[in-house]
């Protein structure tokens, strides 16, 4: 295995009190093509900007070849960047854009003077060498003879190539690419993907690529780093990430997938959609799990010939295959197949053991740190909720002045008592109107799990999350409020 060229140790970046990058650990090996993949705002670009040196981490350190470069400014790092909107210098022509870095470079030359002493001189690169390097870089990006052109007259694709040439001409140890193909049209993007991969092979340097396009990441990378919410979700090869997603975010973000709730029913057996399937993963008996099955891994056979019977409720022609929705009980399953089944047809499905991927459930219950307020309510996650405080002390009751009387007659004022609060995922009610609930927040994620949606609502100040299982579809970034019935709130005294 090659050496680690860059290493991030416990790196965090905080903007306005929000951790955009939250304590990440990551290393990248020399010569790798690594892609940071995630939805917008997941911290991937900030991570790249910290590697480039445009942003300084608020904590943690960045090592380059084992040396700490956290405080080193960008112009002293052997790293070059290809920017999303190219960032070519409009007042310079193609040649001067590409030669910009070379003209600034000083090369260490050692001479011997008359007395045989060694003299070290830092010298500019000669015009001739610069000319050669520029034309070589232009050849690399297939834009020979473009030296004298004004960059503003070039097309988007050509500008992108010039931006790449301008970066690689400096022979950096690492090339950073920040969504470089985002502004190109689909056909051009696909061509450039292959060209970049080819270029990576030829140059042999490390590429760190940032994108939100999962297909692009799967096509190009040696290693994919999936990020969400400032945290690394999974690191692996494209195959690993696709076939063995670590959690439902990765499964949902990479490719299409069916995520369903299941229970381990025995040795290499899992029960979901009302049937016990054989599978290959090892899990503890009775454990609640998430089951992931890719739409192309499900086979449709005639009724009663497969493992589970159900009905086709929709079918869409997608070119190479049909995308059909299969309904069993209340669960909808997406299936891709080249043979079409009619809508309404009763069919059966087969899933092979190796195509069933099991993930530990990420969220089993919502838990918070809270405290009891003056009027015997519980405050947590920026809100006040009605609750039954007598549950804190078995056999207790409230007197007429709202003081708590314990089983052995002790009178307690509960105000400001710290408590642990737990709320089941399916007992949280989401309300459209921000004012109507006990607390409010923004929906930051929605994942479809066969027969329900798992919605995560985050409060604005304390950033507490409510994970909610609901049948209703909400929209990401909606501002909603949250209501919980008193009997669904479990309270526990905190041990001091």
């Amino acid at each position: 295995m090659a050496d680690k060229i860059i290493e991030l140790k416990k790196v965090s970046k905080i903007y306005d009190g929000t951790a955009v990058v939250d304590n990440i650990d990551l290393y990248i090996r020399k010569g790798e093509f690594v892609t940071l993949l995630g939805p917008s705002g997941c911290g991937k670009s900030t991570t790249l900007r910290m590697i480039a040196g445009f942003e300084k981490p608020d904590s943690g350190e960045i090592l380059l070849n084992g040396k700490d470069i956290t405080q080193i400014p960008p112009y002293l790092r052997p790293i070059n960047t290809v920017f999303q909107r190219y960032a070519l210098f409009p007042h310079l022509n193609v040649y001067d854009n590409i030669a910009y870095g070379l003209k600034l470079k000083r090369v260490k030359n050692v001479y011997e003077d008359k007395n045989g002493k060694q003299v070290v001189k830092y010298e500019k690169i000669s015009k001739k060498v610069i000319d050669e390097k520029v034309s070589r870089a232009l050849k690399m990006v297939d834009l020979e003879e473009f030296e004298k052109r004004d960059v503003t007259t070039l097309s988007g694709g050509q500008q992108q190539r010039i931006a790449i040439a301008r970066a690689i001409v400096n022979e950096p140890e690492i090339l950073l690419l920040d969504e470089p193909l985002g502004a190109l049209d689909l056909k051009m993007r696909q061509d450039m993907q292959l060209e970049l991969k080819e270029m990576h092979k030829k140059l042999g340097i490390t590429f760190i690529y940032v994108t939100h396009d999962q297909e692009e990441a799967l096509t190009m990378s040696d290693t994919i780093v999936v990020m969400n919410d400032g945290v690394i979700q999974q690191i692996g090869t494209p195959k690993d990430i696709y076939n063995e997603p670590k959690n439902s975010f990765v499964a949902d973000f990479i490719g299409e997938s069916n995520i369903m709730s299941g229970t381990i029913a025995g040795d290499h057996k899992v029960r979901f959609i009302g049937h016990v399937f054989d599978m290959v993963d090892d899990f503890e008996l009775h454990e609640k799990v998430d089951v992931v099955v890719r739409p192309e891994d499900i086979y449709i056979v005639n009724k009663d010939k497969g493992q589970v019977n159900g009905k086709i409720i929709s079918s869409i022609f997608k070119g190479i295959h049909y995308e059909m929705t299969f309904l069993v009980g209340k669960t909808e399953i997406i299936i891709q197949d080249t043979a079409e089944r009619m809508v309404g047809e009763e069919v059966s499905i087969i899933i092979k053991p190796e195509d069933i991927h099991i993930m530990k459930k990420e969220y089993l219950v919502n838990s918070y740190d809270g405290y009891i307020t003056k009027n015997n309510k519980v405050a947590f996650a920026e809100g006040e909720f009605d609750c039954d405080v007598t549950k804190l002390y078995p056999g207790s009751h409230l007197d007429e002045e709202e003081y708590l009387i314990t089983a052995d007659g002790q009178r307690i004022d509960l105000t400001d008592t710290p408590v642990k609060v737990e709320v089941p995922l399916d007992k949280v009610e989401i309300i459209d109107n921000e004012e109507d609930g006990n607390t409010s927040g923004e929906i930051i994620s929605i994942i479809y799990k066969g027969d329900h949606y798992q919605v995560i609502i985050r409060t604005p100040e304390e950033e507490e999350d409510f994970v909610v299982d609901t049948e209703y579809l909400w929209n990401e970034n909606d501002k909603v409020s949250v209501k919980i019935k008193p009997e669904d709130i479990t309270l526990k005294l905190k041990v001091k």
Partner: protein
């Protein structure tokens, strides 16, 4: 049809109101009569001759041009540095400085003039060329800032970062990337500064020493003090020359802008 006639009549009326006085002035600059209105004898260039022989007028012209160029140069350098500093500071600091630089633009010039005069007196700073120069820099500086700032805002912030990324130190990146990028703003700031300084009367009159005159103070004072001053008619010739210079430069600027647009579109 009637609408068309009305439209063009209106247009021509406005143009006549705007330009008739200037045309009249130019016509009378070729006539030596002491008053506009009474045409004396024939067309001649005597006023122009007087303009280039009268020492006082020549001195005033020299002072004006030198003052305009030097104060504008200083204001442009300071204004550009100020705008860059403001742009890269925190949003709160930016807002404070932005407001501070906007106030002199809306403030009545007489207030600025009197306050500058007061400061000079308070600090026992004698009225010299230096006080005049400082006053003109104060007058024009905010205009340079307001013409440079939008260019900074338009600039892709990645450009400066790309410079750093390619190995330029912050200072090097500032001079090789930021300044060339915002140079149209700097140039227009410089031009605005020159035009403001050239025809300023109020601030100049309050801060100049009695021995120095610019064209505007000379003209005002000459008319006010002594209508029999023989060199007054020469100011007509001066005005005509200034007008000609302005027309030529406006036309030249427009033509070159058109040419640039055509070049861009041609490609």
């Amino acid at each position: 049809m009637v609408k068309k006639i009305l439209q063009s009549t209106y247009l021509w009326l406005i143009l006549i109101f705007l330009y008739a006085p200037v045309v009249l002035l130019v016509v009378y600059s070729f006539n030596a009569s002491t008053e506009i209105g009474s045409w004396s004898k024939e067309w001649n260039f005597s006023l122009y001759k007087m303009l280039f022989t009268d020492a006082k007028i020549l001195n005033a012209i020299k002072n004006t041009i030198f003052l305009a160029l030097s104060s504008s140069a200083i204001a442009t350098i300071l204004g550009t540095i100020g705008a860059i500093g403001m742009y890269y500071s925190k949003p709160k600091t930016f807002r404070i400085f932005n407001t501070i630089t906007q106030i002199p633009i809306v403030n009545a010039e007489i207030v600025t003039a009197i306050s500058l005069a007061l400061v000079c007196s308070m600090l026992l700073f004698p009225r010299t060329y230096a006080s005049l120069l400082i006053a003109h820099v104060v007058l024009t500086f905010p205009f340079v800032v307001t013409s440079v700032l939008p260019k900074l805002k338009q600039m892709d912030p990645n450009l400066y970062e790309a410079g750093l990324d390619l190995g330029a130190s912050p200072l090097k990146a500032l001079f090789t990337i930021t300044i060339p990028e915002i140079s149209p703003g700097i140039a227009s700031g410089f031009m605005i500064a020159i035009t403001l300084s050239l025809d300023d009367y109020i601030i100049t009159n309050f801060t100049k020493p009695s021995t120095i005159d610019t064209i505007s103070t000379y003209a005002y004072n000459a008319y006010a003090k002594n209508s029999a001053n023989t060199s007054i008619p020469a100011l007509r010739a001066l005005s005509a020359i200034i007008f000609a210079v302005i027309i030529i430069s406006v036309v030249a600027v427009n033509l070159s802008a058109n040419k640039k647009v055509r070049e861009r579109e041609g490609k």
